[in-house]
């Protein structure tokens, strides 16, 4: 597995950026925070767009953050094939930025929900236990887009039976871009890297992204 240097974006209103930083380090990589106004990513290999409520999620989740200078740089990194991982609000930002297909709508129950969910890794069938916590996590894309994502192998994770509490179409929890170097998911792998807090299954997601460079 490649050892890589991660940059974790920090917007006003980010919540999970320190957790993401910590998780990158536990996964064996280097990591530092990148301020949203920085147009230059300072030579990092990959970027984590963390969870939280960037710019208060005013207007629409992720709608303002996508215009930040740092996100311009992230788009360039993605185009160059660098690993980009969007978690929760980061997933929403990547969808708003057009780096990932689809959109995240309000949960079917119209309530924020925080609970441990089981994910199935597409392809391997591996089961991961990871916390999810969001109010707008219902994955949506037009039917033909969903068909295409499935055909291209762009569905990365699905909620296991009984765990799709937000009403995501086709139980989709995470998707990649066509090239596979940009991944977004609603559950929080950075909160599943320590046996004391419940699970270490999230490390597998970080390892997958490090593998993009391998």
């Amino acid at each position: 597995m490649a050892f890589i240097k991660w940059g974790v974006l920090q917007f006003p209103g980010s919540c999970d950026e320190r957790d993401a930083l910590h998780a990158c380090r536990i996964a064996g990589d280097e990591a530092r925070l990148i301020w949203h106004e920085d147009r230059d990513l300072g030579g990092v290999d990959g970027v984590v767009v963390p969870g939280g409520f960037s710019y208060g999620d005013y207007l629409r989740a992720g709608a303002i953050a996508r215009f930040s200078p740092a996100m311009e740089a992230v788009a360039e990194l993605a185009a160059a094939g660098g690993p980009v991982l969007g978690i929760c609000n980061g997933f929403q930002v990547l969808c708003e930025a057009g780096l990932l297909p689809g959109a995240l709508l309000r949960n079917a129950g119209l309530r924020f929900r925080c609970h441990q969910v089981e994910l199935i890794e597409e392809g391997t069938g591996e089961r991961l236990s990871i916390p999810a916590k969001h109010g707008e996590g219902r994955y949506y894309a037009p039917e033909e887009t969903l068909d295409r994502l499935e055909a291209n192998g762009q569905v990365a994770y699905r909620y296991a039976d009984g765990h799709n509490s937000n009403g995501s179409l086709r139980d989709i929890a995470g998707v990649t871009n066509e090239r596979g170097n940009v991944l977004g998911l609603m559950p929080h792998p950075e909160h599943a890297v320590d046996p004391l807090t419940g699970s270490t299954d999230g490390l597998r997601v970080f390892e997958r992204m490090s593998g993009v460079l391998a």
């Binding site: 209103g13 320190r18 939280g52």
Partner: protein, 729 residues
């Protein structure tokens, strides 16, 4: 305004208080001064009916770094780190507008904690509503839970625990008590005392608007009644995004050593924060309201001084560093304005440009409010109602199902899943995984546990014993996760203290709190008092909410409350002699009455110490304190959580003189329900009562023996999910 009523009375001051203000000023106060006095001399700010009683509480301890009087209490957790914590009420705003009231309750307590330089790491809340079959209660529950989630989730602080009770006396006046825990380097903590004559006073954060004007006096210091809708403008509106920026900004300013002192703006806004900073520092402050950034241009000086707009902080800064401070505020995209200066006059002077619009000695404004003695009188008997909801003569199985489904006992998953409990990577035990929340502190190499408790119904039965029980329950909860108490904070929620029965409840409860904390050696490091919690039907149950923070040396050695393995032995431990007095069963039967047995504090303390040692040694598979609904409910909870049945015999409790019903459903302090290896439990001196296993809960208790399927018990215990969701519509 009523013709002929003096303005000071409209603002909540009495005739004699007004005369005292005139005497201290040597003249009549103008409108600005009157507004400021009315707020700082309100019950909410001056504690005028409770301060004398609070002197009874023990506040010293070798781990105490900050005690009462600061924005939050703080205790030493080792390796140069401190844990700060405080609980505060936001009851009346929540009763008027539950979403914003609860949200800003969370916002306010967060600011108290980061004002001393601690990064907030956890939130807990203690909520009280009327019975769930009331439309109003469902509306308040839904709004308060969404409000807490909205604010805490958005700002990225984990909500790790709490409690909710539903009782008729809270129907009109719900309680929303929010608690925050923060972590700081001990050496970097700041106090709220203004210092350094000539230093600048800088207002940071949101602009000042007309929201929340008069909240502390009009809303928080009077009974609720008809026409409360007109008070809605006195409820503040919260913006967690703004607070998140102000929080990060203040922590960066403190880390860079740019602030001499820092204070949050809460109740009574600029008036109280400037007044308290000046009082604590023994200095004066000049403030120019013309320099305060406003949301509405035409605000009067008095409105600016009393506005309770949220997400604002007041800092004292050396003049040479003001530019640096403002640049960091700009980086975080939050406001800043140099609005005043520290003086040596001992007075608060309010200017509008060159014009002086108010001038008051700090001593009179902040510390001059008269303190009142209570005139307590014990009521003759039970002063609250009590509807019977459980038919007489039902089977023991039906009794257990009714108790498990009771909203007070049922799982609160519906509420706590609306809160982010994991952000921050510290949460070792999430809600309902153990009796207390456990947070790891890699910085100090250990963990803390925290529990918040306060069963108002039992305090109503006996304010002295009931308050002792609340503290003992906290201590037992901490023991179950291997934690040793470091300090306690509290929020005393009571009715109108000018009424003799409420005064008696308050007096007895504070005595109970003082006695139990002294006996346990647990210092009270802070607290909050919320009085006048009454509606048209009378006062709330007297509700001292207490929270204890304890130290866990090794977060890997923490027991859960769930049964862990079939074949484990089940044992009862501790000085537990349950009765039906004040119990959930007595409530459902309509049999509530005054009187509780007096708990034996030293015996419970000893039991806690033994459990703590056993948990730390990794000897127990599960540990759960016996609380609401008695031993039968504790057994069911451990069984449901572990998805494992059990069969037990309560004969040992029968031998302590308990009737079958008391053994099953009786309540009282001192009981621990344990599971683990038989020999280990025997060594501990626990009384073996049964074994884990199977798919049923089987309890032998003489003529009230019962057998209940695990599935049926679980659906009763999970019934709040559906009730709350269906009813929220």
């Amino acid at each position: 305004m009523t013709v002929g009523t003096p303005k000071y009375r409209e603002l909540g001051l009495t005739d004699s208080e007004y005369e005292l203000i005139v005497e201290k000023l040597g003249r009549e106060p103008n409108d600005v001064e009157l507004a400021m006095f009315s707020l700082l001399w309100s019950e909410h700010c001056a504690y005028k009916h409770s301060r004398k009683l609070l002197r009874r509480l023990p506040t010293e301890g070798e781990r105490v770094l900050m005690g009462p009087g600061e924005n939050a209490g703080a205790v030493d957790v080792g390796n140069g780190y401190a844990v700060a914590f405080k609980v505060e009420s936001h009851n009346h705003p929540s009763a008027v507008e539950p979403f914003e009231g609860a949200a800003t309750g969370v916002g306010g307590i967060l600011r108290d904690v980061f004002a001393i330089g601690a990064r907030p790491i956890a939130i807990l809340d203690s909520l009280r509503f009327g019975e769930l079959d009331s439309v109003r209660s469902r509306h308040l529950l839904d709004g308060a839970v969404r409000g807490i989630g909205h604010y805490g989730n958005s700002i990225g602080v984990a909500t790790v625990g709490g409690e909710i009770y539903f009782e008729e006396p809270y129907e009109h006046n719900c309680l929303v008590n929010a608690m925050c825990i923060g972590l700081a380097k001990s050496a970097d903590m700041v106090r709220a005392a203004a210092a350094g004559v000539g230093n600048a006073v800088v207002l940071m954060g949101a602009a000042t608007g007309r929201d929340g004007i008069g909240g502390a006096s009009v809303l928080a210091s009077a009974e609720l009644g008809e026409g409360d809708e007109t008070k809605r403008p006195t409820v503040q509106i919260g913006d967690p995004f703004e607070e998140s920026k102000v929080l990060e900004c203040c922590l960066e300013l403190l880390e860079k050593g740019l602030l001499v002192s820092l204070q949050d703006l809460g109740a009574a806004g600029l008036t109280s924060s400037a007044g308290e900073m000046a009082s604590a520092g023994g200095v004066g402050i000049d403030l120019d309201v013309a320099r305060v950034p406003l949301r509405e241009a035409d605000m009067e000086p008095f409105e600016i001084m009393v506005s309770e707009s949220q997400e604002r902080m007041l800092g004292v800064v050396e003049p040479a560093r003001v530019a640096e401070v403002r640049a960091i505020c700009e980086k975080w995209q939050t406001g800043s304005a140099e609005i005043g200066v520290v003086t040596d006059t001992g007075a608060i002077r309010i200017l509008r440009g060159e014009e002086v619009v108010g001038e008051m000695p700090v001593a009179a404004l902040v510390d001059g409010c008269p303190l009142y003695d209570l005139e307590p009188a014990e009521p003759a008997g039970w002063i609250y109602g009590n509807r019977a909801t459980l038919a007489a003569g039902v089977s023991a199985e039906d009794e257990l199902l009714a108790l498990l489904a009771a909203p007070n006992i049922a799982s609160k998953r519906w509420a706590f899943e609306q809160y982010d409990s994991v952000v921050g990577s510290r949460t070792v035990r999430r809600p309902e995984q153990a009796d207390a929340a456990v947070l790891q502190l890699p910085e100090s190499g250990n963990a803390i546990a925290v529990s918040i408790d306060g069963n108002g119904r039992r305090v109503a039965c006996d304010p002295y014993a009931g308050t002792i029980e609340a503290v003992l329950e906290c201590a037992q909860n901490l023991a179950c996760v291997g934690a040793e108490p470091l300090g306690l904070t509290n929020c005393l929620n009571f009715g109108n203290p000018e009424k003799p029965a409420t005064a008696w409840q308050l007096d007895r409860a504070v005595s109970g709190l003082a006695d139990v904390c002294t006996a346990l050696g647990v210092p009270v490091v802070g607290g909050n008092v919320s009085l006048y919690n009454e509606g048209p039907d009378g006062p709330i149950y007297p509700t001292p909410v207490v929270s204890m923070v304890g130290e866990v040396p090794d977060p890997a050695q923490v027991a859960g409350s769930a049964f862990a393995a079939a074949g484990d032995a089940i044992a009862l431990f501790g000085p537990f002699s349950p009765t039906l007095a004040g119990s959930e069963l007595a409530k459902q039967r309509g049999e509530l009455d005054v009187g509780l047995p007096q708990p034996d504090v030293s015996k419970v303390a000893n039991a806690c110490a033994q459990i703590r040692a056993a948990v730390r040694a990794g000897k127990l598979a599960s540990a759960h304190d016996v609380s609401d609904g008695g031993l039968a409910c504790a057994l069911a909870e451990s069984a449901i959580a572990g998805e494992l049945g059990c069969h037990v015999d309560l004969q040992p409790l029968r031998e302590r003189g308990c009737s079958p019903e008391e053994a099953l459903f009786g309540e009282g302090s001192g009981g621990f329900l344990l599971s683990g290896e038989r020999a280990v439990l025997e060594d501990l001196g626990a009384v073996l009562i049964g074994e884990v296993g199977g798919t049923t809960i089987e309890i032998a208790a003489g003529d009230r023996s019962l057998v209940l399927g695990l599935g049926g018990a679980a659906s009763a215990w999970r019934s709040l999910d559906e009730k709350a969701e269906a009813l929220a519509d």
